[in-house]
Symmetry: C2
Subunit: 375 residues, 2 copies
Amino acid sequence: MPNVWIAGAGMTRVGRRSEPLGDLMADAAHAALAAAGRERPDFIIVATMNPEEFVGDGNFASNIATYMGFAETPALRVETATSSGAAALYAGVAQVAASLHRTVLVVGGEKMTHLPTPRVSEIIGRSIDPYERAYGATMPALAGLVTRALMARRGVGVREIAQVAVKNHANAARNPYAHFQKPVTLDEVMESRMVADPLRLLHCCPISDGAAAVVLTAERSAVRVAGIGQGADALAVRHRADVTHFRATRDAARAAFAMAGFGPARVDFAEIHDAFAPFELISLEDLGLVPPGKAGRATLDGETALDGRLPVNPSGGLKGRGHPLAATGLAQVVECVWQLTGRGGERQVSGKVALAHSIGGLATNNWVTIVEAER
Amino acid sequence: MPNVWIAGAGMTRVGRRSEPLGDLMADAAHAALAAAGRERPDFIIVATMNPEEFVGDGNFASNIATYMGFAETPALRVETATSSGAAALYAGVAQVAASLHRTVLVVGGEKMTHLPTPRVSEIIGRSIDPYERAYGATMPALAGLVTRALMARRGVGVREIAQVAVKNHANAARNPYAHFQKPVTLDEVMESRMVADPLRLLHCCPISDGAAAVVLTAERSAVRVAGIGQGADALAVRHRADVTHFRATRDAARAAFAMAGFGPARVDFAEIHDAFAPFELISLEDLGLVPPGKAGRATLDGETALDGRLPVNPSGGLKGRGHPLAATGLAQVVECVWQLTGRGGERQVSGKVALAHSIGGLATNNWVTIVEAER
């Protein structure tokens, strides 16, 4: 594949936002264009998970292109549930690699906090297999089931899981774009109210609004998309051979590293999909960043902390920065670009190669993106 | 751009279908794969306009990939309202052209007829600018406004408009895949009940269920994607300089012909987005297939009939074949492939170059695809 570069990246602060979704997405897009030094894109890819039900509007590529002042610029929308931002990035990479367009704006966003939580949960729940949903399965319920299996079959402990949340909150407290700005202690996590046994409130990402964007180009820039790959798995969790790892992550990583032409040992830091804290432990191993069975120990030992061997979720992750669904896969890449170009502020880490990992649904449609600083 | 070929095409009969959407899409996909002589794709692009509200399911790329037996094959969803099928084709072309995948299945479908018509109208209406929607604008209402302008400013007559419906019903009556299987007369069209003055029932496409699919490949096959292009316009109809032509169609045609390296004179037949009969007249001129001001006369004179100089909508079009939203852009291409390879049955036309034209929303996001038979 020809080289595809990230010429600019931008995002909004994530959190409970009062602006309409169009404002958030336009802000992120214009920030990315400004960072790229471009007046306008020649193509726009829009990622939103479900604007029809979250905000009542469809035809959303045209809606957002018009809203941000680019009504006459071709635009389409890409969706793979909670990993839509990463999928949109992939679609953009394909267009630039195919020489169809030179400057592609990829922008993702979601607005949810204006709705009652049960309604948000119902809308997100449409990602679950209809049969399992009919029996009352929700995302936290299925994640709780995965976590129970992880503890029973692979010996992962409650302190290891809780430490993920402690680390990611600590990172978020250094990130002005994060939903949560305060650290939490291990005791606070382990004593927070139960959501879906054994998952407690502070193991789970918040419901967040926000938007993120990148500008892709065929022209040499500071950061390159070295690899991007997708993995898929059966919609129904009951049809999986093993729920203590995610096949979709493993396949995505294999595809992304194959494209990059190197392996996990070259990764200096990572943004990982920790919608539920134990998912960070599962994913560290699925991605090959930590040996099998060692993710919990590595986390307790500080290997994945900001000053560790392999900083994970310097942004605060979904847990701390927040999880505005279709924005998340792009917000991860924005963080990687900022870190690689020395704009990590109080949470700056070092390195030349970063990995972003995004989960769609209950790990049905996952993406791995590897970005590399120009040497 | 490297050559991208259509190795196989398939679709369901369009109409009021009792099967679930997954069945329809799987049927179309497996028909396209069988026609292509392939066991399985290595990537799937899914087009649906709004499965969350039409059928209650999200994460639809994973849903459909699992449903059709390809749970572990990477899949993403593309959406541009009523032109989603054409947009998905474009995304597939980009992936093959970028050498990311060798065999890409593109499948679109929609299921609507199980819902009450006012609910369907509400869901489709999310494609309209929110401000105009707040004043009661529906798709037929806006199309009525466009038609009034067309009649007042460009002298198009009611017989010319009605003849589009007569022609397309006649073609549909020869197409076993079409929603409508009966011809209608000019009098029947002009006396059918008023929907949105001056548009009558038989000027408007029906609410249809159905699915269509193509298999794209980098390997030489019988039909090639010669050109594909998109055009966009402001979401709000009130922000357009002129509503008697569609800027988005003109820009899409310009891009598609530029990629093809030839002009409209080379087109032998076309599938055109006639969700409302007058849109066929507008589009014929926007596409450059008929000189400005001549579309009505050409239609009355039989130039666009099955045995005319330039057969338009041999399938029956959206009017006669039906308009299962995200399936439509692909169903048009399926018809072009079938015609180019001599599988047009009772409605066979001759030619080597075919054009498909798809409108998203009220002409906010339009696509033109040019396919060419291998010589």
